[in-house]
């Protein structure tokens, strides 16, 4: 069982110079948590995650942990302000994206892919690349569990 056999290949991607608000449209419409960022040749440059977008919307003093809890702040008020500011700005994907997403090679074992997810558990996804860093597909934690579940459906009971 190799990474390339369970990865999803038909996925939405974005380019580094795209404005962020365009990508937010795609992400919200398709309910995606992560989009690989690739250049014209399909080389992986990074990934755009919903959390990195939210990171841009949440004020800096909260991101840095200087102000830890704000239970008294009004609902939406400040988020709306920063969200609109991000949407109206010319901020590009390259400025917001995660530059070092977790990646695996197409021929890596499923155990190795799982290990990569667990060890760098910042995201629920790993991106599959070939030797030239070309993006091939994406594997979510759910994909792995599903692969196991489908592969070994009733074995436990038959033993």
């Amino acid at each position: 069982m190799f990474a390339e056999r369970i990865m999803t290949t038909n996925i939405a991607t974005c380019s580094p110079d795209q404005p962020v608000h365009e990508v937010i449209d795609i992400m919200t419409e398709k309910r995606l948590h992560t989009l690989p960022v690739i250049d014209a040749d399909g080389i992986l440059l990074g990934s755009l995650n919903t959390l990195s977008v939210l990171n841009r919307i949440v004020p800096e003093y909260i991101v840095t942990g200087d102000l830890k809890a704000v239970p008294y702040a009004p609902d939406f008020g400040l988020l709306r302000k920063h969200y609109l500011a991000l949407n109206n700005s010319k901020t590009t994907v390259a400025e917001v994206m995660e530059r070092h997403p977790t990646t695996v090679h197409a021929n890596e074992s499923l155990l190795s892919v799982t290990a990569a997810l667990i060890t760098y558990d910042r995201f629920e996804f790993v991106i599959v690349i070939d030797d030239a860093s070309k993006m091939l597909g994406i594997i979510s934690s759910n994909d792995i569990l599903r692969a196991l579940h489908d592969q070994f459906p009733l074995e436990i009971e038959t033993v």
Binding site: P59, Y61, D66, V70, P71, A73, L78
Partner: protein, 456 residues
């Protein structure tokens, strides 16, 4: 008179100490250690507690002091008062009461940006008078960033004003600023003495400073109606996270403050009151928890105490005691009296202005630690401990207010600058000093007039 002659003549050379260590007279060695430690602290490349403990260690290893004398030189009244207050604040801040007060203040003026600036500055000054300045700005600056963000105004004027307010407010009481704690403890001045002698001038200094800030920034601060409405949507009651703990904290804080004002009559030192309050609040905060939770909470509070500051003080007291033993402090005091020709008014002015300028450039804590024995040495010239009281007020006003002179003048200034930097609004050294230095000088002029009218 040469330095060696002065030390021998003044009889300050302790009998036990060898006069030469590694072929060097101990007086030069003590000066070298003192200056080297202060210089490396100013470079800001090493933790200052480590440097002061290292300097203290060298003083002892080289035989300028023995261990017993070193320990006797540590003012445990200062250490206890600082530690006790840090513990009390570490627990009380978890209740969210500081955020509550800040948001409440901003809403009281209906989110009018100028009103908010004034209110937050006054809140900062009041908190600084009763708590450590650093703690105050640690609590107020992040909320200020939130409020100015909601108001859509630049945070700089607000933070600038809060820095000045914290140092001005801290000047008012015995416990407001570490120099005052040291002066009070070592000159035998009470909480009440500080309240009667220093606090009365603070409102005028604050008012003048706020007026100048208005002139400097009045064009920069405007908020839209929507932004002001957003402020009114804040619900400060939600900031109060733990009502039972809030009640306990406020009770203990109240008791401690009453204790400070009556300490003298009860023949108690402030450190005893602060440490008792700290122990009581530590006990109360986890009254009904099991032992494991109690231990965990205790360790959490201990981790929040600023041990760097505490150990910095310990080392510093030893270094200064070493310098005192060799007679250099007495020599410096003599030199200062020579310069002022033994005139009391001139000496008060010299202490005030030297403290102010020095505190703007270097950490005011080592400066004050060195000045205190110097002023003690001047007492006989001016007719005893009672007569030199104005010198203590001059030192306190100069050292505390002087902290406003530059961004590195006080720890609180640097803390605020750190917050501003991380939030993407860096405060540069030069932007700050451009306005702050003149405002500091203005406050010292007011202090000079006050001292002259009241005491001279």
């Amino acid at each position: 008179m040469s330095l060696e002659a002065a030390t021998t003549a003044s009889g300050f050379m302790p009998a036990h100490a060898s006069t030469a260590i590694f072929g060097l007279p101990s007086v030069w060695l003590a000066i070298a250690i003192l200056l080297a430690v202060y210089a490396v602290i100013m470079m800001e490349k090493f933790n200052r507690a480590v440097l002061s403990l290292l300097g203290a260690g060298i003083m002892i290893l080289c035989g300028v002091l023995n261990q017993e004398q070193a320990i006797a030189g540590v003012d445990f009244n200062t250490i206890g008062l600082l530690t006790g207050m840090m513990v009390i604040v570490a627990i009380s801040q978890k209740t969210g009461m500081f955020q509550y007060v800040a948001i409440r203040a901003a809403k009281l003026v209906k989110g009018d940006p100028w009103g908010v600036l004034v209110m937050l500055s006054v809140v900062t000054a009041l908190f600084s008078a009763f708590l450590d300045n650093v703690t105050t700005v640690l609590l107020i600056a992040p909320v200020t960033l939130l409020i100015t963000d909601a108001l859509d105004v630049k945070p700089y004027p607000f933070l600038f004003s809060e820095i000045l307010a914290s140092n001005i407010g801290g000047t008012a009481t015995l416990i407001g600023d570490p120099p005052n704690i040291m002066i009070g403890s070592q000159a035998g001045l009470t909480f009440y003495d500080f309240l009667v002698n220093l606090a009365p001038i603070i409102p005028l200094i604050m008012l003048t400073t706020m007026a100048c800030i208005w002139v400097i920034f009045r064009r920069d601060i405007h908020a839209s109606r929507e932004a002001r409405e957003l402020i009114m949507e804040f619900n400060e009651r939600d900031a109060l996270k733990n009502i039972p703990l809030l009640k306990k904290s406020l009770s203990v804080l109240g008791m401690v403050l009453i204790g400070f004002t009556t300490a003298h009559e009860l023949h108690l030192e402030p450190a005893s009151i602060a440490m008792f309050g700290a122990a009581l609040l530590l006990l109360l905060q986890t009254w009904s928890c099991d032992l494991e939770e109690k231990n965990h909470a205790f360790e959490g509070v201990m981790a929040e105490v600023e041990w760097t500051t505490i150990f910095f003080f310990v080392g510093l007291f030893i270094i200064v005691t070493g310098a005192e033993h060799t007679g250099i402090i007495a020599f410096l005091a003599d030199k200062m009296l020579e310069l002022t020709k033994g005139d009391f008014n001139a000496t008060v002015a010299a202490v005030l202005w030297t403290s102010a300028i020095a505190s703007a450039v270097i950490d005011n804590i080592p400066f004050v630690a060195t000045m205190i024995p110097m002023i003690h040495d001047m007492a006989p010239t001016f007719g005893g401990a009672e007569a030199i009281r104005p010198l203590w007020w001059a030192l306190a006003l100069g050292a505390c207010l002087g902290g406003n002179g530059s961004l590195i003048g006080a720890s609180a200034n640097l803390i605020v600058a750190g917050f501003a930097q991380r939030a993407g609004h860096p405060i540069s050294f030069f932007t700050f000093i451009k306005h702050a230095f003149l405002l500091m000088i203005l406050s010292i002029v007011i202090a000079q007039i006050y001292i002259s009218l009241r005491y001279l």
